[in-house]
Amino acid sequence: MTIEEGAKFVAAAYAIILAVLMLYYVLSARRVNTLKRDVQLLEQEVQRRQIGAGGAGGE
């Protein structure tokens, strides 16, 4: 097998590896960010309700 022939296989293998690893990296990073935002929003919501409930109780 010549180097040119071998290079095609090598390129394919590394392309697959890098594609999958980078995809996993990007997807997991996005999930962390989305979840962090969700937590933040939910925490705000909880806080808002607590204040609302506290105000209602005070009247």
Partner: protein
């Protein structure tokens, strides 16, 4: 949160090692003199990924034992996360192994010990997720998954050994009892990629753990709002 802080450092470290390993593999290590020729370059990522997959399942195995001892859901989360990553790496091993097989032996598939073992590993750990999906109660799901994870990890080397009973295959035995049989420059490139892959695994495990924790947190908060 402490885990998230150190994550970028780990990712950058993994990246540096992996890129260095790759550069060394193509620029520094000699082209393999045996029949494999240039396609042997696949080996520089293929073998580290295989090693990393096994490390991931090893982590899952240890996590499973610790879970059974402590019933602490954090160990269960570690188990899930490592098995999932191990599975991703195993699929990469299979894919690159098949490409290598086509280049070096002329066939996509050969019933050869290592390839066959990894095929079974994939089946085993897909079954792990099937098992998890059919148990609803959380504690029971974690317990069963842990038991299965232990049994599966024990079974992997046994399977590998058993495949030696099959008629001989043609996978190159790179690491034998007598040494690695590699020129030093190849070994260095290979070793650096191995460190890189392992670091990447650790970084990804940590981040996935954070994902699972955040998920639980979201569920808790949703509950508290709903209730």
């Amino acid at each position: 949160m402490k885990q998230l802080v150190s994550a970028p450092v780990l990712f950058v470290g993994a990246g540096i090692f992996l890129v260095t390993g790759l550069l060394l593999a193509f620029l520094y290590a000699p082209i393999d003199a045996s029949t494999m020729g240039y396609s042997q370059k696949i080996f520089f990522y293929h073998a580290p990924i295989a090693e990393t997959a096994l490390v991931a399942f090893g982590v899952a195995f240890v996590a499973a034992i610790l879970y059974l001892r402590s019933q602490d859901p954090r160990w269960d989360r570690l188990g899930v996360v490592s098995v999932r990553l191990g599975l991703v790496f195993s699929l990469l091993v299979m894919a690159t192994g098949m490409i290598w097989g086509k280049a070096a032996w002329g066939t996509w598939w050969d019933w050869e010990p290592r390839l066959t073992t990894f095929l079974l590993v994939c089946f085993l750990y897909v079954a792990y997720f099937v098992l998890r999906s059919v148990v609803e109660e959380e504690q029971r799901r974690a317990t069963f998954a842990a038991v299965f994870s232990i049994i599966a990890f024990i079974d992997v080397p046994i399977t590998f050994f058993a495949t030696r009973f099959l008629p001989a295959g043609m996978h190159p035995t790179v690491i034998t009892m007598g040494g690695t049989g590699m020129p030093g420059s190849m070994f260095v490139s290979f070793f650096i990629s191995m460190i890189g892959m392992t670091l990447l695994l650790v970084a990804l495990i940590r981040r996935d753990l954070a994902v699972e924790e955040l998920k639980d947190r979201v569920a808790d908060l949703k509950n508290s709002i709903g209730g």
